[in-house]
């Protein structure tokens, strides 16, 4: 049943642009229903700011169903806040208590430069996908969809990896700012499927090396898995590493004989 939270103190990161040093601004929310989502609380704050002549807090968000991956936010030092397997947009105020102080910051990672306030630039993720995160399949030339049976466990494992929403929580949670969970998820999704085999080793090589241009290195902390709103397992990193090692040694001309 619904209730009301009173007297919340928000400490929100404000930064006018990449060159600005940034600071925390404090705002008090006197009262809010616990049915409200976290972002609805920010909407209410922003409406109040605009109507009193101040600039709204900039933050990325869109679908509010936990699937587009646009929202972000470090909430009390945790990527996407305190609830497991939940993106910020699906976090509700019933997870907080009256009198709480809530610290809200942007993703902090050198590969995700801050644009303004709580908004960061995650286009380095797109660069990784552009380098190899696809199966080359020109439109119109595809064989019948049931031509190649895919064992259910394989399809399920590919789907587990493919669920990644590209939000960047894994990078934000990582002490090294590594993107191995994101890249591993994409590599695993495609490298597990029969359709992905032709480009398997080229794919992993290109994606890992593009990732290394932008992001830090993985040292197996496992913070990424804990922060992932889709609960993607760090097994995908092992699969990526294993394929990357093979890519460096395998003779691709004899792939069809393996």
């Amino acid at each position: 049943m619904s209730g009301t939270l009173k007297n919340l103190t928000l400490k929100i990161w404000r930064q006018s642009g990449p060159a600005d040093g940034g600071r925390f601004d404090t705002h008090v929310i006197d009262e809010i229903t616990d049915e409200a989502s976290f972002l609805e609380m920010l909407d209410i704050l922003n409406e109040r700011l605009v109507e009193s002549g101040e600039e709204a807090v900039v933050f990325d968000h869109d679908c509010r169903e936990g699937i587009c991956g646009t929202c972000s936010l470090m909430i009390n030092g945790q990527a996407h806040g305190p609830e497991r397997a939940t993106a910020t947009c699906q976090l509700h105020m019933r997870k907080f208590s009256s009198g709480d102080t809530i610290v809200i910051e942007p993703w902090r990672a050198s590969a995700f430069p801050i644009v303004r306030d709580l908004m960061v630039d995650r286009s380095s993720f797109d660069r990784i996908v552009e380098s190899g995160g696809f199966i080359t399949a020109a439109t119109g030339g595809a064989p019948d969809a049931n031509l190649t049976p895919i064992p259910k466990p394989v399809a399920d494992a590919a789907m587990d990896a493919a669920q990644c929403i590209g939000c960047g929580a894994c990078v934000a949670a990582c002490p090294n700012g590594a993107a191995n969970l994101f890249t591993g998820a994409k590599v695993s999704h495609l490298n597990l499927l029969p359709q992905g085999q032709a480009e398997r080793y080229q794919r992993v090589e290109n994606m890992v090396e593009t990732m290394d241009e932008h992001f830090g290195s993985c040292t197996n902390h496992g913070e990424c898995e804990a922060a992932c709103p889709k609960e993607i397992s760090i097994d995908v990193i092992a699969l990526m590493n294993s394929d990357y090692r093979k890519a460096k040694t395998i003779n691709r001309k004899s792939l069809s004989r393996v």
Binding site: S2, T33, E35, A36, S37, L39, E40, D43, N46, E47, L49, V50, E51, G53, E55, A56, D62, C63, R64, E65, I67, C68, G69, T70, T86, Q90, H92, R94, R116, M119, D121, R122, S123, D126, V129, E130, F134, I135, A137, A138, T139, G141, A142, A145, N146, T148, P149, I150, K152, A155, D156, A158, M159, A162, I165, G166, H189, L193, Q195, G196
Partner: protein
């Protein structure tokens, strides 16, 4: 200089031949551009959802130069990603009697005989190619233990033709299309402009010559010219403020095209989806869909007695009204969306609503869990159940879900001919942004089908038919004064919005506008209500023009200013929606005029007078649009009363 439209030119360009042959005949006779010449043409694609990403990727693959625009940070964020349940295709892998003809007929009937026959047949034909294409790209559709693709059923069909990837089919399909687009960006065939919003269309010498965009990071307004422009910019469901659309979904691109001469068709055809989580408070920012696929196993019911406040488990079986099963026995809980939504509204209006605000009906999985076990139910719908629990704090394995209808999809959109070209030569509309395939009501799992059909299998064929005439001819580039003039207009507009200096935020006006549209142009419309809306909306718009407050200035990143521009376009669209709903004196699909219903409360069509597409022309005055009609002449199908009983 806006386009001047000759009313006699509303030519849908349907190819000759029998219905089943039309698409083949088109392909056999269309003009082609040879592979070496394709690189001489530039095509702009606005929007990177299913339709936009698939069109941009395929056009680039063919060899055209493509510039793709999205207002998101990445093409992968487009709202197609949120589609849950599935995608239809006439594969007949179940051997349960499906065929291209049956999918075609179900879609025509589902649309209440208000869609264009030839377009719908083509959609059903190419549906089978979509599944092949997406599997080849690595979309991990659900599979059976033997490794073959699995299917489920969706509303309005008596076969299992829906392919799915858990409850995240839209996500997986969009990632598939995005990956193809990313590949083309990576190899330099597509230039991507992200965080860039279309703010106007530029027409020169009777054809679309390009677009004017605003860089959302810098506020800078600039021009881009091309041989052809494709708008794949989605629907306008956010006109209701509360909808299942993402927060940024808007009508601006389509509306700006409309203001420059593109006719806007059937704006009153909006889909209210029956299974959304009911509103819980006044500050709610959006409504969340619970996939229609849940109705495969969930049973919809309300207490028989009005005002029954007992907990659901305390209401005995014989005091429950499973109203969909009772009213529509052959389709039961899988009755189409418009029919199910109105049935829910009738139950709630008669006091049988459930939940703290009595604004919902139950969707109960008790029987399914008893029959299949919790594990099977969890495998099928686990992520949806989890999402429901996060939003409501209630566990749907233990207590029935509460659901209520909400704005979800818009069948209306820019008028296009068979080739997906709007009434502005060289300007195309694809996906939800056009009007053509769903008539007055869209069937579940058909939006993904249409978006991908348009982008992968229709537009890449039809666009060469137009482009070929411009081979080796010069077209105006952005140095043409018309670009500068339109840019200046756009700058003036944002300057005006930024400097009104009133007291209310754009969100305030959007919320108030949404209430008017929902109350008078939502699930049920009446002449009196629509008249009221048509006097209230201009009054609220007047207030908006005087009392809007946008802080932060017009240069640089300003989300408040972006919102203000979108809300302003929703005002004008809202007026057109109500006008269209008023003019269409019949009930069909999602358009329900209370004056026109059967004794049982079902929609009553008037084929004598309204078997046409209403295509509206902008006249410069939002309250005085000009109506054109495209008659719907059916060659293969007879108009029938739609029954799901």
């Amino acid at each position: 200089m806006s386009m001047t439209l000759d009313p006699r030119t509303l030519d849908s360009k349907i190819p000759d031949g029998s219905l089943a042959d039309k698409w083949d005949n088109f392909k056999a006779n269309e003009k082609l551009v040879n592979p070496a010449n394709k690189r001489k043409f530039k095509v702009i694609v606005v929007g990177t959802g299913l339709a936009g990403a698939s069109a941009a990727a395929t056009l680039a693959e063919l060899g055209y130069q493509v510039d793709a625009f999205t207002f998101h940070d990445s093409p992968r964020r487009a709202h197609s990603i949120a589609a849950q349940g599935g995608i239809n295709a006439a594969k007949n892998y179940r051997g349960d009697g499906d065929s291209v003809h049956r999918l075609f007929y179900d879609t025509i009937k589902g649309g209440d005989f208000r869609s264009r026959e030839a377009n719908v047949h083509r959609l059903a034909q190419v549906s089978v190619n979509i599944i092949d294409q997406m599997v080849a790209q690595g979309v991990p559709f659900a599979r059976e233990y033997g490794g073959m693709l699995d299917n489920r059923s969706f509303g309005g069909a008596q076969v299992s033709r829906t392919f799915y990837a858990r409850g995240q089919t839209g996500q997986q399909l969009l990632l598939g299309a995005y990956q193809q687009l990313a590949r083309q960006i990576g190899i330099g065939n597509v230039r991507l402009f992200n965080r860039t919003e279309l703010v106007d269309i530029v027409n020169i010498d009777g054809r679309c010559a390009g677009i004017v965009v605003r860089d959302l990071m810098t506020g800078e307004v600039s021009s881009h010219s091309a041989h052809a422009v494709v708008l794949a910019t989605g629907g306008y469901g956010n006109v209701f403020f509360l909808s299942t659309n993402a927060m940024a979904c808007n009508v601006t691109a389509a509306w700006r095209a409309h203001r420059r001469g593109a006719l806007f068709a059937n704006p009153c055809y909006t889909q209210i989806h029956p299974t959304c989580i009911p509103q819980s408070d006044d500050f709610q920012s959006k409504l969340t869909l619970m996939s229609e696929s849940l109705r495969n196993d969930g049973r919809v019911w309300v207490p028989k007695m009005a005002g029954d406040l007992r907990a659901p488990q305390d209401i005995p079986e014989d005091e429950r009204d499973y109203y969909l099963e009772r009213l529509y026995p052959s389709f039961g809980n899988l009755a189409p969306r418009d029919i199910s939504s109105r049935a829910a509204k009738r139950a709630i209006d008669s006091g049988q609503g459930v939940g703290p605000k009595q604004n919902g009906v139950y969707l109960d999985f008790g029987d399914a869990i008893g029959r299949l076990g919790r594990n099977v139910v969890s495998e099928r719908y686990g992520n949806l159940f989890d999402m429901y629990e996060r939003i409501t704090g209630e566990n749907p394995y233990e207590t029935p879900m509460r659901i209520y209808p909400a704005s979800h999809y818009t069948m209306g959109g820019l008028w296009v001919d068979y080739e997906l070209m709007t009434t502005v030569p060289g300007l195309y509309a694809a996906g939800e942004a056009n009007f053509s395939d769903h008539g007055a009501n869209r069937l579940g799992a058909s939006a993904l089908m249409q978006g991908l059909a348009d982008g992968y299998f229709v537009l890449p064929y039809t666009i060469s038919n137009y482009l070929s005439q411009w081979l080796n001819k010069s077209i105006p580039d952005t140095s043409h004064p018309e670009f500068a003039r339109v840019e200046a207009e756009a700058r003036d507009r944002y300057h005006r919005l930024a400097s009104i200096g009133g007291t209310r935020s754009p969100d305030y006006f959007h919320r108030e506008l949404g209430k008017i549209i929902w109350d008078y142009c939502g699930m049920e419309r009446t002449e009196a209500g629509l008249d009221k809306a048509l006097s209230e909306i201009p009054a609220l718009y007047e207030e908006f023009s005087k009392d809007l407050r946008v802080t932060g200035g017009e240069d640089g990143l300003n989300q408040t200013l972006e919102k203000a521009g979108r809300v302003e376009d929703f005002f004008e669209l809202g007026m057109l929606m109500c006008r269209d709903a008023l003019e269409r004196e019949e009930s069909c699909g999602g358009h329900f005029r209370a004056e026109h219903q059967t004794a049982e409360g079902e929609a009553l069509r008037d084929d004598e007078n309204f078997a046409h597409v209403s295509a509206w022309e902008w006249t410069g005055d939002a309250t005085q649009p000009n109506l054109h009609k495209e008659p719907l002449a059916y060659e293969e199908v007879d108009f029938q009363t739609r029954s799901y009983k």
